[in-house]
Symmetry: C2
Subunit: 230 residues, 2 copies
């Protein structure tokens, strides 16, 4: 009675989109992506599975809304935000930390690149790209390049986290991958074999920032001397 069966009583308060999203995030964070089913969600909300459809179109919309809720929570320190490069770094790290605490966000971001959460990222990055004085005709390509990098790495971290869901910790998971890579044909995979030795010790956060810095360095030659004219 204490912990075995979930509450059997029906809920007293009315259902809402917010409550559904909050419950979905709890399940995703606690039990992982595969645990989020409409049946499990309905059980947690103490309602019928069909009730959810009154508030949310379908599962894809639910995941998009949950992801948007997380990404919307990313904030950049006001002082840091003054300098565009630091602001991009800080926001990118915000995305990184969000994925770190909510691994399913990484998978969802890369799975549906035109959901609203991605627009938040594009806006945050794009605004700073403009502030850096990148010419108007290059802003699209530059902003989407940074965004694509973020989404791409997001997908990778999501998988790393998915592996760790099985109970294995990060270190042994990376060791296992490194071992598999080390067994590859030396003729065709010299680089991957070399990388394999560095994989277990590498720092995700540093890897993430290094990529951002690489892109920012690539922007430098494009910049105007001053901020863009109106």
């Amino acid at each position: 009675m204490i912990s075995k069966t979930p509450t059997l009583e029906r809920r007293t308060s009315a259902l809402s989109k917010e409550a559904i999203i909050a419950a979905a995030i709890e399940i995703l964070d606690g039990q992982g992506e595969t645990a989020l089913t409409f049946r499990a969600l309905a059980a947690r909300l103490a309602t019928g599975s069909g009730a959810i459809y009154w508030h949310i179109a379908d599962k894809q919309a639910l995941l998009a809304a949950a992801t948007d809720h997380i990404i919307a929570g990313i904030t950049v320190d006001e002082v840091v935000a003054k300098e565009p490069r630091q602001a991009i770094r800080a926001f990118a790290l915000g995305v990184f930390d969000a994925i770190d605490t909510h691994p399913w966000v990484g998978g969802q971001l890369s799975r549906d690149p035109w959901q609203h959460a991605v627009l938040r990222i594009l806006e945050a990055v794009g605004g700073r790209v403009q502030a850096l004085g990148v010419p108007a005709d290059a802003q699209f390509n530059v902003a989407t390049a940074i965004m694509s990098f973020i989404l791409g790495l997001a997908g990778q971290y999501a998988l790393g986290a998915r592996m760790c869901e099985g109970g294995i910790d990060r270190t042994t998971a990376l060791d296992e991958i490194a071992a598999r890579w080390a067994q590859l044909d030396p003729e065709n995979y010299p680089f991957v074999r070399l990388i394999a030795t560095q994989l277990p010790d590498h720092d995700d956060r540093e890897q993430f920032l290094a990529g951002i810095d690489l892109l920012l360095a690539g922007i430098e030659p494009l910049r105007h001397a001053t901020a863009p004219r109106g």
Copy 2:
């Protein structure tokens, strides 16, 4: 009898992993990702659905094998391959073209970043990063940054293609997205609204290359004067 029912006779030749993968690719190319089920695959192969499991572990392994088959087919012109930067550009375009003709590859690449196909990409990129004279301690971050960008953009194109599966062509699909972006709150989404006007006319291939060039430009300051010493 002519077109309605699929062939009812059992197959005469033995099943093989290669035949299964080839049939899977045919379905994926012809009817899209959602059409690939073990039942549909078994019907096309004129066998029972359980037979497939004798040759392939599960659906994820099937998709990974199909993706690897496509990525393995990417070739870089020998002359171009001599210059590392051109080789990276050419290989990246090879990935782009592969996704263009097999849209499901984009989704699969970003979905499972440690499948074998991704190692091919990492090896191709990493070898050229070494040849460019990037110091050993930076090779990991640089190579994975380029790879992450490729995987991130791959996911985006995959979605674009997924939208077009519904019969809508690319132009109207992009117009529709642009219209949605244009309706966003001007206060919070000035950049996305600006980008929306450029979205319908933009060239995917150029966008892809621009990102690669941005990363390559970012590499320049890191390079040794000569190729790395042994």
